[in-house]
């Protein structure tokens, strides 16, 4: 399953929900799959994607979707514990797990050597978890996550396309401003 196809699938089911994108190709592909005001692209702050989404989920009733990465989440595993402590019903964490730090040269990450992020989430008290590896099972899991109370933690095993898409022409100040205006206007 290619991340871009999976991202398009997510957008088809996301409605008006905020989507936070992990740094790099995840945010770029989110932009190319469907730029919208409630896409919160990130270009730094490695590890904080799901923490940002958690802060959103605690402060809005909307379903909030985090498109995180294996390498980034490994940098901030503690936030899975905080999600397990807060238990926001409206949070959906989707981990694009390519088992590598893809954008820094494709070095294999700890999910390639035995770390199971779904098990980590379970042991943090999150019961709505699954691991999927094709579009069909992703669609089923994500559809449920959007309709049933969570928090949800979905690990999606993905493959990299031959080439990255162009860097999205967005910048953080405008991203935040545009995103936030959909809540305060």
């Amino acid at each position: 399953m290619l991340r871009f196809d999976a991202t398009q699938l997510v957008l088809r089911h996301a409605g008006d929900s905020p989507i936070v994108g992990n740094l790099g190709p995840t945010s770029d592909e989110l932009y190319h799959a469907g730029h919208r005001d409630r896409n919160f692209y990130t270009y730094g702050n490695m590890g904080l994607c799901s923490s940002i989404a958690l802060g959103m989920a605690l402060s809005t009733d909307d379903k909030v979707i985090s498109l995180d990465g294996d390498g980034s989440l490994l940098m901030n595993l503690g936030t899975i514990a905080t999600i397990g402590r807060e238990m926001p019903e409206n949070l959906v964490v989707l981990v694009w797990d390519n088992e590598m730090w893809g954008q820094t040269g494709g070095q294999s990450s700890h999910t390639a050597t035995g770390t199971n992020l779904e098990d980590v989430a379970k042991s943090c008290g999150i019961s709505k978890t699954t691991t999927v590896d094709d579009l069909e099972t992703l669609e089923e899991a994500f559809g449920r996550a959007m309709n049933e109370p969570g928090p949800w933690f979905i690990v999606a095993k993905i493959e990299e396309a031959a080439e990255y898409m162009p860097v999205a022409p967005v910048e953080p100040e405008f991203t935040l401003y545009r995103f936030r205006n959909t809540y305060i206007e």
Binding site: F40, L48, L58, S59, G78, P172, R180
Partner: protein, 168 residues
């Protein structure tokens, strides 16, 4: 008014109701009031950088947020502040117990504590050190106004001169 209550009042005045933090013995006087007050949602984080991310997420959906930490935790949160708060311009007040000051007993706290303000200066982040309750309400109110006008983090550094110096 005691310093802890002044902070709580100022947060309420500025409608700042999500507080993300990692515990510190001195600022516990504030965070325990916050924890007991239904106006606030106190989020216990595992690491201060995570708290910064949670606060930014809250602000992004229209609810003002602040973070509480000690200065060692500022060290843990620098990349989150530098690569998220600054480029996206998020007004997050950072309340911290500034370690490494008079009365410090722990050598491990000195370097980070004493370098916290120089690092804030390098990033151009405004910071205010509060050592007394005198006119603290006026100062804090002005700090919050600046924070939102500039849409940037500000640091409020509290020392043992203010909170009595119980250090751990």
């Amino acid at each position: 008014m005691p310093w802890a209550e002044t902070i709580v009042d100022t947060l309420k005045k500025w409608d700042t109701s999500l507080i993300a933090y990692v515990p510190d013995i001195s600022i516990d006087r504030v965070t325990s009031i916050i924890d007991a007050d239904p106006f606030f949602h106190l989020v216990s984080c595992t690491r201060e950088e995570e708290a910064v991310g949670v606060a930014v997420g809250s602000y992004a959906v229209g609810r003002n947020a602040a973070v509480f930490m000690q200065s060692s935790g500022f060290g843990n949160s620098i990349n989150g502040i530098a690569s998220l708060c600054l480029p996206s311009r998020t007004p997050i007040p950072i309340f911290m117990n500034l370690r490494g000051q008079v009365g410090e007993f722990n050598i491990a706290q000195v370097a980070m504590g004493r370098n916290t303000k120089p690092i804030l200066d390098l990033f151009g982040i405004a910071h205010y050190t509060i050592e007394s309750e005198d006119r603290m309400d006026t100062l804090l109110d002005g700090v919050m106004k600046l924070c939102h006008a500039h849409r940037n983090p500000v640091a409020i550094c509290m020392t043992p001169m203010l909170h009595g110096g119980k250090i751990a």
